[in-house]
């Protein structure tokens, strides 16, 4: 059984570091490839980035656990 979380994104805190994307793509595609990550960071280093999740995201929460800037937070715990 995999734990599943709601992830709250706060783009204001996001620095565009892509650590979340490296983590997600390495977990599910065994390579560092942000273009295959299920969390999508749209950031061309302008005033604010956009954070989205693709349908394939299973809410495992690993991206949020590795975000070091507080831009992704896990809320509550569900069972899937």
């Amino acid at each position: 059984m995999m734990e599943s979380f709601k992830i709250i994104a706060d783009p204001k805190k996001c620095t565009g570091c892509r650590i979340c994307q490296f983590i997600c793509s390495s977990l599910y595609h065994h390579e560092f490839n942000p273009s295959k990550s299920y969390i999508i960071i749209l950031d061309e280093y302008e005033l604010s980035p956009t954070i989205q999740f693709s349908d394939k995201c299973n809410h495992c929460g690993q991206c949020a656990r590795n975000c070091l800037y507080g831009a992704l937070k896990l809320e509550g715990e569900g069972i899937s």
Binding site: F22, E31, F32, Y45
Partner: protein, 633 residues
């Protein structure tokens, strides 16, 4: 053959005939000459012919990244560019950050080699296997910010290196910006691209990077992450960025500039300048700044910079009274693709000479006043190469030929102006490095305890020696200065600081103090091996860095550089007026005044520690043999 970490691919583009070639790197080379710094040197040396004009089709530009770039390795974001630079005629690697290296690796390439020269303005677009030279006529003449915005809008998420008007007009001190933010190529990379009519390179990639040993890597990463999270000063680093390491307000205060000091302090930065903190890909210690200011006419200005300290450093200029003027001026310099450090030194020198009546204003063709308006006017003249601007565009030597008093006052080494003033900051490795760096006055290779804030104690110094992998046998020599009270021998220590910086740059890791402090020789070797699958020892890695440094030196020896060019600027031996104080050139601990004799001794100690010929200041035959560089002689 499977490559890990590295992509193994080099793409060459000949702009003269629009030919594109792909080649593979040899696995053996990738261990002997590593990544952005090392393979750049090797690829350049393979193509090299001596004494060509930097601004000629025969002078290639090579962009490279390291094996760790494009992965989760923390702070692995470097892009390195090598060429023969027009400001100095030296062959050198230049280094920048942001997302270009990341995108290049993701697109499947370690290096790009640019040959030849295009007849018409063009830009290079790379998207995975798609490589295209595109028409740049609609962006030629535009500044870097607009150029980058247009290209990113057209091609979507990507890494962009672009030049501004300064590069197009072949200004010798022009540089490029990566993603509008990080400078790359001090000393004329802008002009090199401008000469080739190459307005920009834009790259995006979706291929991904596989690494050799994910399990081992994950272990290293988890540990690293915990250390970063536990670092008590992390929050303040993220909040203040580089302002934390160089409190400009305090420096201005010491100069007696109270109002400027207040404006440059942390409080005003947070309230009236800072808009957003951004990070290079994979960096947990973000320090890049997007600033937003409200100008006196109530309009807003957005300014992108590697760090807020870059514009604030210009506050030292007389006649700039408010932080909004400083940021506006800096933003213009940046957008045109000029070098803020060079412009700053230039304005300071002209201010000083005019106020001492040492120069005739008629020689300038502009009325020189110490004010915002004059500085702005100067930028326009340089950008358009008019009058004084045209002379400045040709570099410091040309300016010196106007008036021999200028020559004596210039603080330049090999034609490049210094970045760190040792009379103010004392002679640490960063300051000393400016004298010996093959590129000219450059500091990047000075990462060391005198940079990362070891404080004064020998115990702390020794911890850093171990962290940087300085061989135990060398410790005693590093602690044996020409005069006992100096405590450290900065000449000898600079050699190992260069090794350390070179290792980081080879791999693609950031050398800034707040990242640097987390790395050790052991850790970066582990990262390299787990990512590439190679099995290098720590010593192999250090040797590879030393080999690359020596190779770049050998190329410069062929250009005629030697000990005569590693010259402490004359002006350093005079005192520097700073507020009410007169500052002298002193050693790192401030105990001893550095005379010319002592300076020479430190130089000789540096060459000796490098295993070089002390009289000539160049790699000795035995060093060249030891490093297996005979074929490049």
């Amino acid at each position: 053959m499977k490559y890990f970490g590295y992509t193994g691919n080099v793409v060459s583009i000949d702009l003269t005939n629009a030919q594109i070639n792909l080649s593979k790197e040899k696995l053996e080379d990738l261990q002997n000459f590593i990544g952005g710094f090392g393979m750049n040197c090797k690829l350049f040396a393979d193509l090299y012919s001596p004494n060509i004009n930097p601004l000629s089709p025969e002078n290639p530009i090579i962009f490279g990244t390291g094996p760790l770039v494009g992965t989760l390795a923390p702070g692995a974001s470097r892009t390195v560019a090598i060429s023969k630079f027009p400001a100095t005629n030296a062959i050198a690697n230049s280094c920048g950050s942001m997302s270009f290296g990341f995108h290049l690796k993701q697109a499947g390439y370690d290096h790009i080699i640019i040959h030849g020269k295009s007849d018409e303005p063009c830009y290079l677009f790379i998207h995975d296997d798609h490589i295209e030279l595109c028409d740049a006529s609609n962006i030629w003449g535009k500044d870097i910010i607009k150029t980058t915005d247009i290209l990113k809008r057209k091609h979507d998420s990507s890494g962009v290196i672009a030049i501004g008007q300064a590069g197009e007009n072949l200004i010798k001190s022009s540089l490029t910006l990566i993603d509008k933010t990080s400078t790359l190529g001090r000393g004329g990379l802008g002009a090199l691209m401008g000469f080739k009519k190459l307005k920009a390179i834009i790259v995006k990639g979706t291929k991904g990077i596989s690494i050799a040993d994910p399990k081992r890597f994950n272990k290293i990463f988890l540990k690293f992450k915990e250390r970063v999270k536990r670092y008590p000063q992390r929050d303040s680093w993220i909040e203040l960025g580089m302002l934390r390491s160089l409190p400009i307000g305090m420096l201005l205060s010491a100069k007696g500039e109270k109002s400027k000091a207040r404006q440059a302090n942390e409080k005003n930065y947070l309230k009236n300048m800072k808009k957003r903190r951004i990070a290079c890909p994979s960096c947990p210690m973000a320090d890049k700044d997007i600033l937003e200011i409200t100008k006196p006419d109530n309009s807003h200005l957005i300014c992108y910079t590697s760090s807020v300290i870059n514009p604030l450093m210009m506050f030292g200029l007389k006649g700039l009274d408010s932080y909004t003027q400083v940021i506006e001026l800096f933003n213009k310099i940046n957008s045109y693709g000029l070098d803020a450090l060079t412009i700053n030194s230039l304005c300071e020198l002209l201010n000083q000479m005019v106020s001492n009546n040492e120069i005739d204003q008629n020689e300038f063709n502009i009325e020189w006043n110490e004010d915002f308006k004059t500085y702005n006017k100067l930028l326009e003249l340089i950008k358009q190469r008019e009058g004084l601007g045209d002379i400045i565009a040709e570099g410091w030597e040309k300016l010196a030929s106007l008036n021999n008093k200028i020559q004596n006052k210039m603080t330049t080494v090999k034609g490049l102006d210094i970045i760190f003033e040792p009379r103010l900051l004392k002679l640490g490795t960063m300051e000393f490095e400016q004298v010996v760096n093959p590129k000219g006055a450059h500091v990047a290779s000075g990462g060391s305890p005198t940079y990362v804030g070891a404080g004064g104690s020998i115990e702390k110094m020794l911890t850093h020696f171990d962290r940087m992998g300085i061989p135990k046998l060398a410790h005693k020599r590093l602690l044996t200065p020409p005069k006992e009270e100096m405590i450290i021998n900065v000449g000898r220590m600079t050699r190992y600081s260069e090794d350390w910086y070179t290792m980081l740059t080879c791999l693609g890791l950031c050398a800034r103090a707040q990242m640097n402090r987390f790395y050790s020789h052991e850790l970066i070797t582990e990262l390299f091996n787990s990512i590439t699958g190679f099995d290098l020892s720590k010593e192999d890695l250090r040797k590879a860095a030393e080999r690359s440094w020596n190779l770049s030196k050998i190329l410069n020896v062929k250009e005629g550089f030697s000990r005569k060019d590693d010259k402490f600027p004359e002006e350093w031996f005079n005192s520097l007026k700073y507020g009410k104080n007169k500052l002298k050139l002193k050693d790192f601990y401030g105990t001893t005044e550095i005379s010319k004799e002592l300076a020479n001794q430190l130089l000789e100690d540096y060459y000796d520690e490098r295993g070089w010929d002390i009289n000539k200041g160049i790699p000795s035959h035995s060093k060249i043999q030891e490093l297996g560089l005979g074929e490049f002689l």
